[in-house]
Amino acid sequence: MSVLIDIILAILAIYLAFQSLLAKRLTQTVFIFFAFGLALALAWVRLGAIDVAITEAAIAAGFMGVLFLDALRDFSPRTSNNQEKTEAAKDIFSKKNTKSLLLPRVALVLGLVLFLLISLEAIWNIPDGGGLTVSVETMLPESGVEHPVTAVLLNFRAYDTWLEIGVILLGLLAIFATGGIKLYLKPDVPAQDILLRQVILFFTPILFLFGAFLLYIGKSGPGGAFQAGVLWAAIGILLHLGGKPVFSMIPRWLGQLLLTLGLGFFLLLGFILMAGGATLFEYPPAYAGVLILIVETLAAISIAAALTAIFANLNQMQEKPNDIESTT
C-alpha cells in the first residue's frame, strides 16, 4: 500500500517536471513548477526527511515560486499573446532549417535516453555504503544539540553551512552586479490596498512567531536557521508588497549589518575559537548548544534580510524595456 503511494508520487513528480518544461504558456510553467516543488516536498516527507521537506517547500518551491511569479509580470504579456504567433511565424520562416535542427535534437534525445538507462543501472546496482549514521549517533552527545540534522549542519559540517550563508549573500551581490538596481528606493507606493494591509497585519506576527518556533525547535527536531530565515523573509516580502520596503525604512548601516551579521559572526566566532587554540568552528562541547543557537539566530536574520533584498531587487525590474514598442 505504502509502495503504491510512493509510486504515484514518483510518477506525479516526473509528470510535473515534464509538464513544466513542455507547457505552452509561461504562467502554466510557473504554476506547474510550484506543484512540482510541493510534490518533491511530499517525497521528502515519505523519505523521512522533514527538515528537507520544510526547506524545499519554503525556499525551493515557496521563495523561488514567488520570484518566478513576480517575473511573470515581465515576461507573460509577450509570451501569452505573441509567443504562439511568433513561434508559428518562426516555423514558417525556418521550414528549411527544421531538417538541420531535427538531427541534433534527435541525437540529443537519444543520448539522454541512453544516459538515463545507464544512470538507472548505476543507481540500481549501487553498493550499500552504509552512510554515516553510526558516526553521527556516536558523536551526537558532544555536538550540543539533540537533532542529528542540526548537529551535522551547525557543528560537524559547520564549514559548509558557513559558506552556504555566504552564498546567499553572494547571490544578492551578484544580483546587484546585473545593474539597474537601487536597494534603497524610496517608499513611494502607498499601501492603498486595505485587504493587503490586513493580510500583513495578520500574518506578520504569525510568521515571526512560527519562524522563531522553528528556530528554537531546530535544537531537538526538524527546523532551524534556514527554515526560520525564509519565514522571516516572508514578512519582509509582504511588507515590500504593501509599499513598505524594509531597506528604505531603516538606516543604511543597519541594513548592511542585518545582511552580513550571520556570515560575519559565524566567522568571527570561529576565529575567536581559533585564537583559543581550537580549529575553526570547533565549539567547546559545554557551550556548543548556546553558541549554535546564537549562530543560528543571527544566520536566520541574515538569511531573511538577504532573501527580502533579493525579492525587493527583482521586484523592481518591472519597467518595460525601452525599445519593445519599436520592435513589436
Partner: protein, 100 residues
C-alpha cells in the same frame, strides 16, 4: 521494491529531464526551471540513500547536504532569474538567439 529504490530511480529520471530541459528549452525561465529540476533529482538521490542507511534515524548527513544544496541552488537560480529579467529589460529578448 522498497521506498528508497523508487525514489532513487525517480531521481535519475528527474536529473535527465532537467539536463535535457537545459539544452532543449528556449525560454530563459524554462532553462532556469530545468536546472532546478536537475537539482531536485540530485537531492532526491541523496535523501533516498539516507533512507536506505537509516538505523535509529535516517542518515542525517545527506539531509544536511541537501539543505545546503537547495539553498545554494536557489541562490544561483535567483541570480540567473535576475540576469534573465535584466536582459529582457534591456533588449526584450526572452531566449538566446543564434547570433548572440
Amino acid at each position: 521494491m522498497e521506498t528508497y529504490q523508487i525514489y532513487s530511480l525517480t531521481s535519475a529520471v528527474l536529473f535527465v529531464i532537467g539536463l535535457g530541459g537545459v539544452f532543449i528549452s528556449r525560454h530563459f525561465i524554462k532553462k532556469i526551471i530545468a536546472t532546478i529540476i536537475m537539482g531536485g533529482g540530485v537531492f532526491l538521490s541523496f535523501v533516498s540513500f539516507a533512507e536506505r542507511d537509516a538505523l535509529t534515524f535516517a542518515d542525517p548527513v545527506p539531509h544536511a547536504l541537501v539543505i545546503t544544496g537547495i539553498v545554494v541552488a536557489v541562490a544561483s537560480a535567483a541570480f540567473a532569474l535576475a540576469l534573465a529579467r535584466r536582459i529582457y529589460q534591456l533588449t526584450g529578448e526572452e531566449s538566446f538567439t543564434k547570433d548572440k
